[in-house]
Symmetry: C2
Subunit: 355 residues, 2 copies
Amino acid sequence: MVVSFPVMFPSPSVAMPDDAGAQGAATRMRDVAQRAGVSPMTVSRALRDPSKVSPAVLRLVEEAVRAVGYVPNRLAGGLSSMRTNVVGMVVPSLDNSLYSPTIQGVSAVLHAAGYQLMIGECGHSPQGEEALVAAFLAQRVAGLMLHGVHHTEAAAAMLRRAGIPVVETGSLSAKPLDMVVSYSNEAAAQAMTLHLHRLGYRRIACVTLPSAGNERSRDRQRGYRAALASVGLEADPALLMEMPPGLASGAEAVVRLLQSPAPPDAVFFAGDVLAAGALFECQRRGWAVPTRVALAAFDDIDILRHVVPPVSTLRLPRAEIGRRGAEVLLDRIEGRAAGTVAVDLGFEIVQRGST
Amino acid sequence: MVVSFPVMFPSPSVAMPDDAGAQGAATRMRDVAQRAGVSPMTVSRALRDPSKVSPAVLRLVEEAVRAVGYVPNRLAGGLSSMRTNVVGMVVPSLDNSLYSPTIQGVSAVLHAAGYQLMIGECGHSPQGEEALVAAFLAQRVAGLMLHGVHHTEAAAAMLRRAGIPVVETGSLSAKPLDMVVSYSNEAAAQAMTLHLHRLGYRRIACVTLPSAGNERSRDRQRGYRAALASVGLEADPALLMEMPPGLASGAEAVVRLLQSPAPPDAVFFAGDVLAAGALFECQRRGWAVPTRVALAAFDDIDILRHVVPPVSTLRLPRAEIGRRGAEVLLDRIEGRAAGTVAVDLGFEIVQRGST
DNA sequence: TTGTATGCGTTATCAT
DNA sequence: ATGATAACGCATACAA
């Protein structure tokens, strides 16, 4: 049942008070300079490096800035200095809370260093990424964070020509554009599969997101297969599924697997919130977890710790990837480091009641 | 149990190939013009409004652009034209998935219109917001989206002087800075409380986030109290709690309420994921929902639909707020509309098994 | 420590 | 339809 309370009242157009306040006329450095009785150059110095002007002048300038309500123009500053304090970030999706911790980590580090974050959503498409890269380069961003590791040739060429530092965070890429900060999707999937085997499960299914155009899904499938091979288990194709993201997909997957002729005794959901969806479905159907089927997940999202039973999962350093990524990016932007870097931040297995 | 696989290998510094590719030298409009055999002004026109140049010249320019790998410089363009295609957005938090739909809505609309999104996290602090507003104004953003509705005097003054359009989305503010697109927190809380009363519950508790410095929490408490008053129920202070965000808080709240001398028969969790945390705690303790206690939530987050039993909640137009907010902002930026506007997007009550 | 001249890459404006 | 010229507001490089 849905009860609606839609209300909409575009108010009568009330004009902005064009006369009230000092609206409009943006004050320039010159205005501050005149008021302080110094040259614009002195104002520029006072604002960017107070130690380069005399204390007396500094006070005058600060006062003038406040008096006229001066807000510097970074377009002009950036154009003149050929540097900006803006970093661009491209994420596959913004409605997916999976990327939130990484974005948050990036934002925190940038903010502390006085940089601004420009963000764009490319929808898992290399073409979308290319468009955003072009837009960000047009803004003359000082550096770029990319989640995807599969880029169009044009995007790669633009980035090469631009010569700005780039950090990729989606996975440990074989041939990175520049720098990489991530974890190994393959190693993580392999580790969880082996963990399930160590716990005694022998028919281990794996559900990933669609692998078409998704390197990470393929990496995880590879890790799953490698683990099975290493313990001498045969990889039954019926036990490897691909599903779109979402709780509903997880529910559907577990039903299909358990109602198949040879059901698994454990299911490793290697992506998104599939595992949570599967668990809720098991609750609805009264399928005991982990006795009838064990469930494992791929990401330490909050709910997995709180559901009944709590779900075993991999803990990936999502926020740390954002922080470290931003740090190495800033190191390069500010000339504290040269050359490329690859950082593997590893992962953890969190064993809980679902396995 | 936690099994760690930390691995880190900063690779040996591999210098960027400074000679490879056309690295470094950013091409300017002049280079394109020379190559195409026209003036820079013609290139500018061709790029921004192809209909203003002859088809033959357009082809020449497009070819030259591709040949030299030209990426326009929006710093210069913005400086010259006094306009940018960047919109700033200030959100209280980036790790909280609650704001994701709104951000996503804003991003989608801006992107479709050729605008870029600059985002900043103010941590629920008006001072943090002020700093971000200053930073965004320095970038000469074309418009601004703010979630908070409580601003510092300095921030308000800066915005007034800047004269750019501003949209507030946090709640329907009594005296908005400029434009507002939101829903009524008070009306929503009131509606859900009345809904619980209609279902027959008579001791209705309410748990909100801390109200200190949080207008929205206070609005919701006000709505809860108004509802009780309107049906002649007395507001027992022991039934109104404030808890920090998080699943754990919801769990703690429901335990404290149900173990109190006069426990409620329904609990309305008016914020964050408190309700989900409470439900999981009830599952752990074997407290039947809704017979022992009914649970209601304040936001239609995905898990509430999938848990057992699914949780009744309010459906707030979070994504729509982002989209409509960006639309009215763009209308003003691009001069399609003048004057301020207030839009109440309403809400819905979603009745499910938990009540 | 402070000031002067010049240029950053683009667009507005006016001219042709 | 196209071009010449002059800003836009600031920072670099040098001079005082």
